[in-house]
């Protein structure tokens, strides 16, 4: 029988949990958080969390005739959830017509630093992390976010490990968390390269069992491919 560790959905949103997982043992936010992949994952976390909270729903729809269907989201309840990052995304979607998840991922990625900031502020307000600022060389401000008692972080990691190494069926929350943590590079914070390689089939099997999360994954992959192509073109032009 599966562990009951993974039975309950935690009292912390996907965006908060993703941000928490991106903080290392010294309270330093991982460099991956400056990547586009992390920014898009943050947006994805907000979109899925809003679905989980009953503010959005999503379905597959044929947008381009003959092409594979894409996931689209729409608002089913405009009332705020009381989390600034989520309420920001909800208000943006509420102000627009139904649009594909991929479009929302690209559209909102520029807001990702603000969404990250809002999530960190909320974690701080809830007493989960602290904020330590210091000046380096009297000029540059450095910020650390040491985790206060670590319970939420430990539980998140244990749930992830239990799902990937054990046999537990993930909850919808955890399935998406694993997917976003993988795609954003956060999972590499606490699994070695070798471990991730070995776990890859399991990660692929249980992660992002959700059409919104899958579209975000696709958007991230597409963005990475486009950047690689642009880089190759630029390199070719340079050598040219």
């Amino acid at each position: 029988m599966a562990s009951n560790l993974t039975d309950k959905t935690p009292d912390i949103s996907l965006i908060e949990e993703l941000c928490l997982l991106a903080i290392d043992d010294n309270g330093v936010i991982s460099p991956v958080t400056s990547d586009a992949a992390f920014g898009m994952s943050i947006v994805g976390a907000c979109l899925v969390e809003l679905c989980l909270r009953g503010r959005l729903d999503a379905e597959l729809r044929e947008i381009v005739p003959g092409a594979p269907p894409r996931a689209v989201v729409w608002v089913i309840d405009r009332s705020p959830v009381g989390e600034p990052a989520l309420d920001y995304v909800l208000s943006e979607i509420a102000a627009a017509d139904v649009t594909p998840v991929v479009d929302w991922t690209y559209r909102l990625v520029s807001a990702a630093p603000n969404l990250l900031g809002m999530a960190l502020q909320r974690l701080q307000a809830r007493g989960i992390i602290a904020l330590q600022e210091k000046l380096i060389l009297w000029v540059l401000k450095s910020r650390r976010y040491p985790v206060i008692d670590g319970r939420e972080l430990r539980e998140a990691k244990l749930r992830i490990v239990d799902i990937l190494i054990g046999n537990s069926v993930p909850t919808p929350h955890d399935s998406v968390l694993i997917g976003l943590a993988q795609t954003s590079g956060v999972l590499a914070q606490f699994f070695s390269e070798g471990e991730l390689r070995r776990l890859r089939p399991k990660i692929d099997e249980v992660s992002s069992l959700d059409i919104v999360a899958r579209e975000v994954d696709w958007a991230i992959g597409d963005e990475i491919r486009r950047r690689a192509q642009a880089l190759a073109l630029a390199a070719g032009a340079y050598i040219g």
Partner: protein
Amino acid sequence: MDISIEQRVGVELVRIEGKLDFQASIEATEKLMAALQSSPPRATMIIDASALSYVSSAGLRTLLTLAKSAQTSGRSLAVAAVQPSVQQVLDISGLTKANIFTLHPTVDAALQAAGAL
């Protein structure tokens, strides 16, 4: 959406008719979780999806939540006779490949696999 539940030996046969959107998934999750938890140990819940015409992301979460609950309680979940449009959603979401529940082409095949036919 309509849900009907029939108890057979070792099996909870659930027929879902209509659309499993957000509103319907709230009712479905409640009813089906209750049916699962009150079923005999090691029972199989078979969802007859032949009349299930639509599943949104909320409906997918109902299936995943049921599968999770089945595993935790030592029971099993099977889904049978899925319409092509719903099959596409299951495939694209990754639920088909995840082997989190068993898919059968017909209800009879599911009943047979559960030893109820």
